[in-house]
């Protein structure tokens, strides 16, 4: 793991080949790697911006694309209040621009690899990005691993990758999808309205053929604390629950 990361974590220049508006607050940026690397679903890259006076700003972004894709990776970036890097991406960056990144990074929040134990994914907002990489990988690899995703978003329009997730739910028989909308009524019988709690997590995990062997949770710190405790309440060992958090 260490050697694989060390060998590939050099800074490289990448061209933005396309930009897609995903939700009112989130855009996807498709970047062509000049030095292509292999990566595992769940990993991230560091992005570096440099001002004319030499000032640099660095941020980490999870990779949304599946590792089996081409030399192009997808980053889905949410506009944050006063975010000096996210506002650059939303207001300035366009196809044809070049930015610097290094990766793949992160050796913990990783798709577990061949296993027949179901995987439980719980995300909020843009926290679905590394989970989406896992679902896309699950689809592309054909690994017979049942997956459940419980995704919290403010509204139906804020559900990142919504249409693709709905399509994957139809095409993958062992994908369970449940959307939790915090500011709107549920749109579908299998969805929820309100903030994630123990009951919701238990309900979604219960739709898997057998209990999950591990869980991945990504979102704000407050969200992750609730979701990780709910995963513990299912009987998962703490070591089988991997989390990524942002915010205080």
């Amino acid at each position: 793991m260490t050697e694989a990361i060390a060998a590939t974590a050099r800074w490289q220049s990448c061209a933005i080949v396309a930009v897609a508006t995903r939700t009112p607050a989130i855009k996807s940026f498709f970047l062509r790697l000049s030095e292509p690397f292999d990566y595992t679903a769940g990993q991230h890259v560091d992005v570096r911006l440099t001002a004319p006076n030499g000032y640099t700003a660095m941020r980490s972004y999870s990779i949304a694309s599946t590792p089996s894709d081409s030399k192009v990776i997808e980053l889905a970036i949410e506009r944050l209040p006063d975010g000096e890097v996210s506002s650059f991406f939303h207001d300035v960056a366009q196809a044809g621009d070049t930015i610097e990144l290094r990766g793949p990074l992160g050796g913990h929040f990783l798709w577990p690899g061949p296993s027949n134990k179901p995987v439980l994914l719980i995300g909020a907002g843009s926290g679905v990005v590394p989970l989406m990489a896992m679902i896309r990988y699950r689809k592309a690899s054909g690994e017979p691993v049942p997956v459940a995703l419980l995704l919290s978003s403010r509204t139906w329009g804020d559900v990142l990758f919504r249409d693709e997730l709905l399509e994957l739910e139809r095409s993958l028989s062992d994908l369970v999808l449940a959307l939790a909308l915090t500011r709107e009524p549920a749109m579908r019988r299998t969805d929820f309205s309100g903030r994630i709690d123990d009951r919701m997590v238990a309900d979604v995990a219960g739709r898997l053929p057998v209990p999950p062997g591990c869980a991945f949770v990504c979102g704000s710190n407050a969200f992750v604390d609730i979701a990780a405790d709910a995963a513990l309440a299912l009987g998962l060992e703490a070591g089988a629950i991997k989390t990524e958090r942002y915010g205080a």
Binding site: M1, L49, R245
Partner: protein, 201 residues
């Protein structure tokens, strides 16, 4: 390489000589944890000092709280690129833990161990001489659970993953043995001023 159209935040009067390269200031205190947040009651808490596999001394919560107290106000730097200035901590200096166990300089390296199975390696030279403590309070209050309460290691001059949360022991080792993140691609030492983020930085 200059990024087209990027000018960056203007820091104005802020002390840029206190912000390491690639870092940006935050006012809040972000939480990063690789798993569920542990619940450790002080009544169940113990701290164990080991040299190699051998336990040398263990303290209960009340015994540990009776050790001499140290206060530090320091800037802290997270490898995910945020820095926070003037954070105020209170706890027990590693020097005082060693003194209470009648240990001088047992070995050149140490691993901090934690209730959640986390570990991280720090050289003795970065723990001793007043450089590090086991922190029990943040900004005058008991350390919040999200930030490692009841106790965390504080090694403020290294990237903050070295300041292990929910710490329950220090193990002195002959060699520099990689901890949790160091085994997963992060730098063995982690000096923010030299941007030692990942293994070969």
């Amino acid at each position: 390489m200059v990024t087209r159209g990027f000018t960056g935040r203007q820091y104005g009067s802020e002390p840029s000589d206190r912000i390491p390269p690639g870092q940006h200031l935050v006012d809040n205190f972000p939480v990063l944890t690789a798993g569920p947040t542990p619940r450790i009651e002080p009544a169940d808490w113990t701290f164990t000092l080991k040299v190699g596999p051998r336990p040398v001394k263990a303290w209960s919560w009340s015994e540990f709280n009776a050790l001499p107290r140290t206060k530090m106000t320091r800037d802290i730097h997270c490898v995910t690129s945020w820095s926070k200035l003037n954070t105020a901590w209170e706890g027990v200096a590693v020097d005082d833990i060693l003194a209470d166990a009648c240990l001088g300089a047992p070995t050149p390296f140490a691993l901090a161990h934690c209730y959640d199975g986390y570990s991280t390696n720090v050289p003795l030279a970065d723990l001793a001489m007043g450089k590090a403590m086991v922190a029990l309070k943040y900004e005058g209050q008991p350390l919040p659970r999200d930030h490692g309460g009841p106790a965390r290691l504080l090694v403020p001059h290294l990237y903050f993953w070295k300041s292990a949360k929910w710490v329950n022991g220090l193990q002195f080792t002959e060699r520099d043995e990689a901890g949790f993140w160091e085994l997963r691609g992060y730098h063995m030492y982690g000096d923010p001023w030299n941007e030692q983020r990942y293994t070969n930085d």
